[in-house]
Symmetry: C2
Subunit: 459 residues, 2 copies
């Protein structure tokens, strides 16, 4: 009896343990999700605002259902308004406007063509009407789908072509059942316009997110990431390891996100072109110039990636990469000078973009970097190197050589930024203000990229 009781107690304990385990797992999962949600909000608080904006827009447009005088006009078609809000509302104004305009024009064209096809078919008999409609839907849908492969159309009008196929098919096929399709097409267009108008208004009037200014910030941030790497490299490569190294290393790795920045930059340029004048950006701001700067920034990042290999010395298997310290000191002066001058020049350029001022001092830093490169060149001629083994100096010389490449990349980036400055009339800075600004750092906005939806991505 006693043993049976013990058995029971043990069984209960086991069940209780299992329940507690499950409960803990659930609690852990929930707190994990909550933590991630909090992080996402802290990284970019505009995400929280965006979510509420979407909710608001849907509620506003659903008023069509609640007021009799509105609902009587549209009937079931009122749902197109709700649908438009959900589908068209994007994170940035540019993306929303692009989708909205595409949807409106495509609905108009698709609807008109659909009504036309229906009218044409209705002159014939019932059998022939059916066949004609099917053939026309097949041909138009196939043709429009093929058009979506044209690179230029795909970039800006892909969504419009999709909605064109959709509207044409719906209108012309429904016409077989419902003869009042002109009414139907018109109701569809009106409700979509209402939905689109609500979306665009909510998107622009309440804390708008401008793709253009995000692109502007990202361009500056990416240039600054290169500057941070170069600054850290000077410290880490030539100096005795110390406690600050880990700190440097963490921020130095940020340049890696620049390597794959093409996708987001292309999307943002595309969105920005839809946007009206806002803040300091006028309509027809030279957005394409950002693509040029971005491409040069990436080119520089590739070189930096090659340089990074020498820091982590992962090519040890063939050549000794731990260059004797004596040799490092020989190139140290000119190399640290090159990296630091380039770093300052890049930081100035980033600052100039961010504040929309011409970065006059950047050029002088670039000149300094060039001068350091020439110094290095003449140091090679001296007898300093006569007693060294060629094998020992190979890595050091490669590092110096890559840094020289980076100097030449910096020159190109500086030129492209100057071109942007003259195209978009950056202001000439007040010398007093420059001094102040130099002391601050560019405020970097991490992970703006992740807020903009640009296609399905694996993390």
């Amino acid at each position: 009896m006693a043993s049976e009781n013990q058995e029971n107690v043990k069984g209960l304990q086991r069940v209780w343990g299992w329940i507690r385990g499950c409960w803990e797992k659930i609690v852990n999962a929930v707190t994990g999700v909550a933590k991630e949600a909090k992080n996402l909000g802290e990284e970019d608080p505009r995400r929280i605002i965006h979510s509420f904006k979407v909710g608001l827009a849907i509620v506003v447009v659903s008023l069509v259902y609640y007021f009799d005088f509105l609902y009587e006009g549209f009937g079931v078609s009122a749902m197109w308004a709700v649908m438009t809000v959900v589908v068209v509302f994007e994170f940035s104004v540019g993306a929303t406007l692009g989708k909205g305009i595409n949807r409106a024009i495509a609905t108009l064209l698709g609807g008109a063509l659909g009504v036309g096809a229906h009218r044409l078919a209705s002159f014939t008999g019932d059998k022939i009407e059916c066949t004609m409609l099917m053939v026309s839907v097949f041909l138009i849908a196939a043709l429009a789908t093929y058009t979506r492969f044209f690179p230029k159309l795909k970039a800006r009008y892909d969504y419009g072509l999709l909605i064109f196929i959709l509207t044409f098919s719906l209108i012309s096929v429904s016409g077989y059942r419902d003869d009042e399709i002109l009414d139907m097409a018109q109701r569809r267009l009106t409700t979509i316009l209402i939905g689109g108008a609500v979306t665009v208004l909510v998107c622009i009037l309440i804390f708008p997110v401008w793709a253009g200014s995000d692109l502007h910030k990202i361009t500056a941030t990416n240039i600054e990431k290169l500057a941070i790497f170069l600054e850290g490299f000077g410290h880490l490569y030539f100096q005795v390891p110390n406690d600050n190294d880990e700190e440097y290393k963490a921020s130095m790795d940020e340049y890696k996100s620049v390597l794959n920045s093409k996708g987001i930059e292309d999307s943002l340029v595309n969105f920005a072109k839809w946007e009206p004048r806002h803040g300091k950006f006028r309509y027809r701001h030279p957005w394409d110039q950002y693509l040029k700067i971005g491409s040069l920034t990436r080119e520089c990042a590739y070189k930096i990636d090659a340089l990074n290999g020498y820091l982590n010395s992962d090519v040890e298997f063939v050549l000794p990469l731990q260059t004797p310290v004596g040799i490092r000191t020989k190139i140290q002066e000119s190399c640290t000078k090159m990296t630091s001058e380039c770093s300052i020049a890049l930081r100035e350029l980033a600052m100039g973009i961010n504040t929309m001022t011409c970065s006059l001092s950047a050029d002088s830093w670039v000149l300094n970097a060039k001068a350091a490169a020439k110094e290095f060149k003449s140091s090679l001629k001296t007898d300093l190197w006569s007693d060294t083994d060629l094998l020992d100096i190979v890595p050091a010389i490669t590092v110096a050589s890559l840094i020289i490449d980076i100097v030449s990349c910096t020159v190109k980036i500086a030129n492209a930024v100057h071109e942007l400055a003259s195209l978009s009339n950056f202001k000439i800075p007040d010398p007093e203000i420059i001094k102040q600004i130099n002391l601050e750092k560019v405020t970097r906005s991490p992970r703006i990229e992740a807020s903009h939806s640009f296609g399905i991505m694996v993390e």
Copy 2:
């Protein structure tokens, strides 16, 4: 009178000239578009087939409208079927299945929750019902929108979350006007399932495009592009310019597309994971390994980009990059050996991936490349260099050093490919067949990438 006639004739001639000018412009535009359409079709004929497949699927699903017994069941809801086909049909099976499954499950969940919210609200009075519905729509829409920012959910379930918001809003808001929303929700679900089923069947049964096998091909092609560069580099850098150079240069630039291959690879991996067993790929094929290989391939491409700078000598402003021919010949033997062995090794690996066989011989080529690197190392110790100026040899040594980095990258790529081979049970090749295959080249499929839609892109 005569002069008036002359005036008239001149006027007519001018008008005629204007009309002819316009006509020519139109003809030019049309032929231009036609040419581009032809090129797009020739680049990837599957685009033409895809377009016809979309047309066919829409026609099949529109039969719902033409047959009375089908239309009577669904009524106006039949349009959801047409809509689903247009929206869900994507280029590859994986993308289509992913969207279809997302849409079906999201409609089910959103519909159920919408019906629930409506039932709950209908217990109360009219005024309160309206407020409750609005509050619930606002909260659920805001919450679901915020969820779309979670990186893991965004990657695979972004479309599902969108459709969830859509269905929930539509059902719960319509409920205010139409009390038979259970019927409505059910009709919506059924028609979407019909549309989805037609889409998936047409997509899979008629010339299916598998994202997985495209990913497989692109991975091999990208590795081969690196091989082509290395092969060409050996010729161009060390040899006297001749007529074949232009030919080399054109194909060598292909490596540049590898630099920005991350976006398409991520998308294809994501699509591939939705796909069932097909061809030589089983379900749960190690798709993530392709991401690893892709990332190493890009790393190698960055180094190649740095090397490419020395070919075009665009850093001339600081250092003389036209290394004296005498010095080039000193490094020529070991460098050309390294590049050619690496090139062959990479080509073997690409071939191995393409034919799904273990590339046994690649390792021996990699070993040869390593040996060449060691040779170079020992050549530095000899007296060969004693009479040269250090300044003259800097570029040559940098080139050699970058090539050594590329050798080490090749080793990593080879290891990653071997890992893929063992994970997905590549077959051990018949030695006789290898010899034959070596004589052929990998058939490259240009611009597969452009066929898959992965977000809005500027060209």
